[in-house]
Subunit: 468 residues, 4 copies
């Protein structure tokens, strides 16, 4: 008997929510269509072996038809993953056992086409490139959704005034459109970096020590054919121990996490009970609930995004440290990369899928934004008041005069304007420089102090439209 969750809880349709995995934590950290499990690795290795067989045939180094023969059996479901995993203990990686098993599946005349010229690392590295390419394409799709939603929010809320907050304190007014535009620029830049990392993915094919010696003169030609078969660029040299490519790939993924983490952080802050300027909404009943507290509406998407993105820096550090690789092939540092890279792809993919969801459902409460700003009684406009005084008083002096009034306003819960006028000295100064009540009121009106917000939003949207 398997427990279910009762009639009131309709089964969640994974398909509808981009959820294709089946682990306990995969809905959180492996959401979306990035897939880097054992079957994916195995298939990517087999795709590489099959492409090599076809390349060898084209190069005249394998019998006619051998490429097709190998390709026909190079299907992950033909292999015993657990057995390959056990046999990997003999050689330090699963490729030798895979080669033997694959060889056993093809007719005798095609066997010469299996793995010829290659070393285990050629297969695993190229498989990692294939996995990464597929993952990046998925991530790019989710990021495009997220960016388009951020763009829509930026446009829609170009005039939605709210408190800008620095060091978690109200600073000067901004618009929510500008906030969303900031997210947009971050996401679009991260997409561009990821796209560059994708373009740098390259086939790995160097043989035992990077010379392709076992292919004699034909090595480079086979390498080029293999690259063409897989649609991957050919590198200048085999890169067995030149891991800059992996570091850059890791950095591209960590960059995506960095910008999504920033978005999620902002949403958790804006969604706080006391701030309540945005709310996560999803179409799912029960979303955001707590096991204990019936009233809770937790910002689940943001929280889970942070749960993913906070893991990226440590994984990136591992990849960067692992780049110190020995001689022609490394004793351990290379092995440290495999699951680390796969993990980073998965987490980035999940963060991107959640971010698309988050930005699609984000509810913005413009009136609460305005109310929160007004509750600060003009203090966020102190800079503007000081600026009005600066030409007469000097910048430092104006800053100090308004600063003192702001302190009084804060201490006595009065409006900044009242605090200024209540002080004889300050009032006299205002009068002296010709600032009357109307000017003062205008100076503390947030609408009048948005600076380049609208123009900046336009710039961000224009840049977004230029994204390929």
């Amino acid at each position: 008997m398997v427990a279910t969750v009762g009639p009131a809880d309709a089964r969640i349709d994974g398909e509808d929510h981009g959820y294709v995995h089946d682990g306990l934590f995969d809905g959180l950290f492996g959401r979306g269509a990035v897939s880097v499990g054992d079957r994916d690795w195995l298939q990517a290795m087999l795709d590489t072996e099959a492409a090599l067989a076809r390349a060898l045939e084209t190069a005249g180094l394998a019998a006619a038809g051998a490429g097709a023969e190998v390709t026909a059996v190079a299907r992950a479901d033909q292999f015993d993953v657990a057995e390959l995993g056990r046999r990997a203990m003999l050689t330090g990686n699963p490729v030798p056992a895979l080669v033997r098993a694959l060889t056993g599946l093809v007719p005798a005349e095609a066997r010469q086409a299996v793995h010829r010229g290659a070393t285990s690392q050629d297969i695993i590295d190229t498989a990692a490139m294939l996995l990464s390419r597929r993952a990046i394409d998925v991530i790019a799709g989710d990021l495009a959704t997220a960016a388009n939603r951020a763009a829509a929010l930026a446009d829609e809320h170009a005039a939605t005034v709210m408190a800008g907050r620095t060091l978690l304190q109200q600073a000067v007014p901004v618009t929510f459109g500008l906030v969303a535009a900031g997210w947009l620029v971050g996401i679009d830049d991260a997409r561009a970096e990821l796209s560059r990392a994708r373009a740098r993915l390259a086939v790995q094919f160097g043989g035992a020590a990077g010379t392709l010696a076992s292919l004699g003169e034909a090595g480079p030609a086979v390498a080029a054919l293999l690259a063409a078969e897989l649609g991957l660029p050919e590198p200048v040299l085999p890169w067995h121990t030149d891991r800059l490519r992996i570091v850059q790939l890791g950095a591209g993924l960590a960059g995506v996490c960095a910008v999504l983490g920033k978005v999620a952080r902002d949403v958790t802050l804006l969604a706080q009970t006391e701030v309540a300027e945005v709310t996560e909404r999803s179409g799912q009943p029960g979303r955001g609930g707590s096991s204990a507290m019936p009233h809770k509406q937790n910002p689940v998407a943001s929280v889970v995004i942070l749960g993913c993105t906070k893991r990226a820096p440590g994984l990136l550090a591992t990849l960067a440290a692992a780049a110190e690789q020995d001689q022609q092939r490394a004793a351990g540092a290379w092995h440290a990369e495999w699951e680390t890279l796969a993990g980073l792809l998965r987490l980035t993919g999940s963060a991107a899928a959640w971010a698309a969801d988050l930005l699609t459902g984000l509810q913005v409460d413009g009136s609460r934004m305005r109310a929160n700003l007004e509750a600060a009684r003009g203090l966020p406009m102190a800079e503007n008041v000081a600026a009005m005084l600066a030409p007469e008083l000097g910048r430092v002096e104006a800053h100090d005069l308004v600063s003192a009034a702001a302190a009084r306003a804060a201490a006595q819960a009065m409006a900044l304007t009242d605090a200024l006028l209540a002080d004889g000295n300050a009032a006299a100064t205002l009068t002296a420089v010709g600032i009357g009540h109307a000017e003062l009121q205008a100076a503390v009106n947030p609408e009048n102090y948005l600076g380049a917000s609208a123009e900046f939003i336009k710039r961000a949207l224009a840049a977004h439209r230029r994204v390929p």
Copy 2:
């Protein structure tokens, strides 16, 4: 049809090699009996819920028999992991769905005993403690094996002279016993730390915000009963956002990885073709082979250990960074811990299992050690020669004189003694201070320059015997 690897390749019996997992990379990075997969997590959560039900019953807060009712159904195989994973997307963790499913499995009168007083984090954190405790016990066993083998090597090779090497250059002689004693001390210290981390594992039970308010007056009593049920210490306070315990646990595991990585690094260096002083041996035919090169005998265990241990620092950094947790329960940082901790447990467990294997099978070639040392023509004894001259010449002057002779010896491939005697000035100095040919020969005999090696080995063995 599933491919096999052919008749010559007998199926590896996982049991015999401590291999109990079935993933493609689990033989490498998940070897040994540490188990932190979905089923393990789920069972540990259920163990926690069951223990809580029993504690509630004992405290008089649940019906008689409720504890046993819940315990009876709290078996991971009763639950649909994939469905729990999907439903976790609603709440940010799988516990609420698990609670509903578990509640559905128990008779109505026992339902009040399910999850009462708890919050999701209580269940996941306590489950993590249970997983960690089990993992540490496994790791401790493998480390004990490794330490005992290091001790045996230290004892057996107390007089096996070899070159000490600093900055990868031959320095002065040591014994292989001393090298092994160094490994021993590292492993024993790491064991002690791990043991301490184990002792700090503690139950988590605070309810929604760490007050246990839903249990009224009974909270602390239930917490104590829960701790007793699970055999876990009770902390001073619920530690929902006090994550020092996790950082320390991570540090204890990373410490194990640090010392095992050092051992593996040494073995890879000593096993180099040109050094060839040690060899990994295992009972497995085919171990150490390459997919391309028939002659290869790769030091697989050391390489895989490094493939595990090099990932620990990044994971530790993630845990340390995640300790900055918000208020009563964190928005994301906590979530970043789960898989990170589990991953670190798995990798440490695998490194320990491989290390036990490595040190059990390590072959030491004492004659090659001696030969490598002799090939340096007395240069590693230069310090001793200088020390002999120092009382007469002064330390700096003696150092410079021998340094010059050593440079000549290196340049002309001659013995250090010959280089000294061939230089009129140096020879005259030797004569002047009464150092004849016999004294010089004695001075370059490595046996005479082992210092405290033997005593240090004894100390390490004595300390090892004191390990509980």
Copy 3:
């Protein structure tokens, strides 16, 4: 001419604020009395050399009086740091040049006592231990201050009710005393760990390759004397490439940063304009100001603490990765430790100094805490209401009923009690189970739902009193 900041800005007296350094960022990241600059390193190295000379004399390996002669000149101000730095380029560390310079300062008869038996690493590692010990003592003092202040806050605010917040949402009530007690337990645990790390600091003395061969039979005796001279424990073996001690030290420091980062994070959140439950106060006029905004009162101490503590995980990762050290002395990994460890000591010291300041000046606004909680219109008490219904309805059903009412309350900005009573179904259920208006009002009174808060505070204070 040197610019000053004008008459209104009295010069800050560094002494008064525990500020003893003079760099541009030292007030932020190097505050307090931890001192790990060049002079400190140099003096610690000289202290080690001097102690070694005295140990050698005691052991009969140097002329009478040699120890005193070396000690007399082993003063950092006697040496040209820049020149030592330049000469370090020849040998990869500054010790060889230091030894030559020190030798040149002592009378001929004492020269044999300089550096005899030692290798550069002995001097630098032991110096690092001395620096660490001094730093830890300073940090421990600041942490004691911080802990005592947290204890005072816990005691003083044991009945100050506030919203507990999980995932940045109001959850159930807590008291500020409990929050402070949580900080206290974290700090006290971190102190205990740091104290343990201090106890593990050990002298390093192994000579060229860890055998002390150049001292013949006398090595261990000299090592013991050196340890005694410096008041450092003697390790089982020289630990040139057994770096667990450094990893543990790093973990101890990173643990301090972890708990202080949590405190600072909480303060920044509680100090938000919209929350305003705590305020940083310092005796310094101008503290918290902005260069642009006259009204700003930034939580500078918390922000700077986070600026320090966020750097600890990366530094810890570097130390952990650097523990993979080659053979008898490492080719680079050791060098990576020096500035990393020193940096971690400095940052931890600064965070501790700022934390002492922060907790000393923290202003708590109990009425605002109450007001923020009340603004949630009873929602944080939903769990309590559900618990009241659970015996009759079942836990899951009660949760769902209250959850629906909470959703209505949130959507219509009404009190939870009103939302319950406004729904015919819910109201009928309440009536059916005998819950009247008075019971309902009592159920939403936060004072009645603090659970074990008071007891937990008592536990934390009791544990604090037991800290040595």
Copy 4:
């Protein structure tokens, strides 16, 4: 009195060795012309303030001549660094105090031009960009030297045969030219990335919350003028909390460290006493010496490079983690970047300076390379022998046959060819497939098994010539 190192130790002329700093460890970790000390930071901040003043004047927002007035006094030596550092404690950064001091130095009519429109972060971030640009230019120069030397080595040693080594075991032959070509490609790729990171450096100018509100309509125009004054690109938006730029910069620097660490690792391995294929040479007498061992010739440059590069991953992780920044300006995460980025610039600069030195002086011993390869008695040619047999026997069978012979050869210290011929079965197989003695000897001649080595070198050199 200041100690010197005696007459025999000529003072090191820092200028000649690219050494411009004066700290105890700066010769190691701060070598070269990258300069990120307090004065550099201060001057870069002042350069930013001066450029802003000129921009404001050009925009008509400051009096004529104000830009020149501010520029004239914006010299770091006019300011008291220690006092600025102390005052930074009030505001969390040194800019407010700097602005006051700078304002005090300019005539009254120019004061409006100081800091107008800016917030502290504008000044510090832009200063960091200026520091980074200068540092990158220095690093690029040293990398160009290193790359040119690697290219020369690749060309010169295109036919210098040596053992390729994988997992620290001899694998198949390569040439040293190919090894150097691998270094070259890595360095050239890292240069390209660094160049890209340089192109992304951008001015920061957003005012208090990124709206430039205090400049009214003029904000964007002033920002453009400021960018032009500094020669920095203008970003789409102010990037106060969009830190992808910093992550990418960090990744570019860590990428340089990654490739240089790989080079250094290779050199330390090739320079081992037992391998002795390369030697570091420098023009400096005493380079590579030990404080204890007169014979030591340590590979100091490689070791120090590793001492630098091993610190990069942890610093990169800090920057990546710090990218999760709050709202309009962050409470701590931003502060964590300053010294981290500066430290990474310094270490990368030092590694690059050392690498230029290392590759300039590297001595290659081709005959030793050949001798080490021959000492393996044909085993590294086993793959070639197997390949020769594969068409007849099948790849797997050929692999197994040669593998068995290789095992016998290793066990009995005989040549691979002899081991093959000594086995009746193998010998018969050889005969059967028509492989005689001459073919066998040819098959074990490394010259005949270099594959694409020469072509790969040509590719790398061609790519190098295309580097701008």
